[in-house]
């Protein structure tokens, strides 16, 4: 059975994450850029914005355009005809974020400003 095959393993006791009703604010530039990236797949694909550990400040933003996962754990927000999904576990960290899009050669792309963050990394991808 090996070392990992025995008894005595248990799940960690972790406080339940607070779930809040998510609100998102996209600028016109961000909506245009999102539509361009969707490339006509709005009916089948969604934008998922999530948070995960890492980065200089503790958490990293992640944005993915994927096929609709059809998962109950998400909150769905319609942004200019595009469905944007936030997982309930990330809702308290991401509700109220402002998303902009900047076209610059260095550090351009989607920019997130998060009113829930106490601190942010210089590159703008990490918060805590």
């Amino acid at each position: 059975m090996g070392l990992l095959g025995g008894d005595g393993f248990s799940l960690p006791v972790v406080t339940e994450t607070e779930v809040v009703d998510v609100q998102l604010n996209f600028t016109e530039n961000a909506i245009s850029a999102l539509k361009e990236n969707m490339a006509g797949d709005e009916q089948s694909h969604v934008l998922v914005i999530s948070a995960q550990s890492g980065g200089c400040s503790g958490y990293l933003y992640d944005m993915k355009i994927i096929e609709d996962p059809g998962n109950d754990g998400f909150q769905r927000i319609d942004i200019g005809g595009i469905e944007v999904l936030i997982h309930n576990k990330d809702s308290s960290m991401l509700s109220g974020i402002n998303i902009d899009f900047k076209e610059t050669l260095m550090g351009g792309g989607f920019q997130i400003e998060n009113p829930n963050a106490d601190r942010a990394c210089g590159c703008g991808q990490s918060f805590g």
């Binding site: 095959g5 025995g6 393993f9 550990s53 990293l60």
Partner: protein, 302 residues
């Protein structure tokens, strides 16, 4: 007189053991620690640090890669917070399960007379084996640790086999070390614990080699990068050794100002301690504390 390593003794470590399973387990852990682990082979061990966003140490860990799973050994005092970081830090689409293994897997540090003794008991030849590589025998994993002051090895054993291992060790004349003996051994070997490291910068504690400067972002990385390029190490963790017992806490000295004793033992007439001393780049050989003289070794890793 120098302190001596224990012989034919073992110590059951009081570490927090966490099992991390799933195809994304390495990625989830890698984002949280200072040390690069994405290049680790199977059946290997590597030291790692968890730091806060200020770059200060919040937990000390050993990472074991075992057949696609990760076993994390870390400080009991910090395990709730470390496990919360792991659980909360998973993305919604990552395959990573966190399990508490405190009651399932134990780590025993063993100080043999020689490695022939180990071969006789467990049938494992660790003498010529490299450090930090895991060897499987029966259902146990063996790993050798080589420090500047000596060699010992750890056995990872599951709860069901703990009594068997202990009786095998006892049969060959090993005795269980108490916490004073362990404290003495770990100070001699340079094994730092959270009492020596909490809230300190890795460089101050001699853990610079546990910070991988090429791995990209992790909590505290911005501070570590800035210290690396512009910083100057003020305090350094040192092992001090002398004849008079030393009390934990702060002490005023004539030559180095206030120093902090973070761990201390007194065994067989020899006092050993870890002390944070404001060396400011100097390499003194001794220090006077309350009319007693102690030799100084600046700690590296391990």
């Amino acid at each position: 007189m120098s302190p001596a390593l224990p012989k034919s003794e073992y110590y059951i470590r009081n570490d927090a053991i966490t099992l991390i399973q799933g195809s994304d387990s390495l990625a989830v852990l890698d984002r949280l620690i200072t040390t690069r682990i994405d290049d680790m082979q199977d059946l290997a061990r590597r030291g790692a640090l968890f730091c806060d966003y200020n770059g200060r140490i919040s937990d000390l860990a050993s990472v074991f890669t075992i057949s696609g799973s990760i076993l994390l050994s870390s400080a009991v005092s910090e395990c709730d917070e470390t496990r919360r970081k792991l659980v909360d830090g998973r993305s919604w689409d990552e395959d990573c399960e966190i399990m508490v293994a405190d009651e399932a897997i134990f780590c025993i540090s063993v100080f043999p007379n020689d490695f022939e003794q180990v071969k006789n008991i467990f049938g494992v030849d660790l003498e010529g084996s490299p450090p930090d590589i895991l060897f499987e025998s029966d259902e146990h994993l063996f790993v050798k640790s080589v420090t500047h002051n000596g060699i010992f090895f750890d056995i990872l054993v599951k709860f069901e086999n703990l009594d068997n291992i202990i009786s095998s060790l006892s049969k060959f004349g090993f005795s269980e070390m108490d916490s004073i003996g362990w404290n003495n051994a770990r100070i001699l070997l340079g094994l730092r614990q959270m009492c020596d490291s909490a809230g300190r910068l890795p460089d101050e504690i001699g853990f610079a080699s546990l910070v991988s400067k090429d791995k990209g972002c992790y909590p505290g990385q911005e501070i570590h990068a800035r210290l690396d390029s512009r910083g100057r190490k003020i305090k350094s963790l040192c092992r001090i050794t002398g004849d008079s017992p030393i009390d934990l806490g702060k002490h005023k000295t004539d030559d180095f100002g206030t120093i902090s004793i973070t761990s201390a033992t007194y065994l067989d007439g020899i006092a050993s301690a870890f002390a944070l001393i404001r060396l400011e780049g100097n390499s003194p050989e001794s220090i006077d504390i309350k009319d007693s003289n102690y030799t100084i070794d600046v700690m590296g890793y391990p």
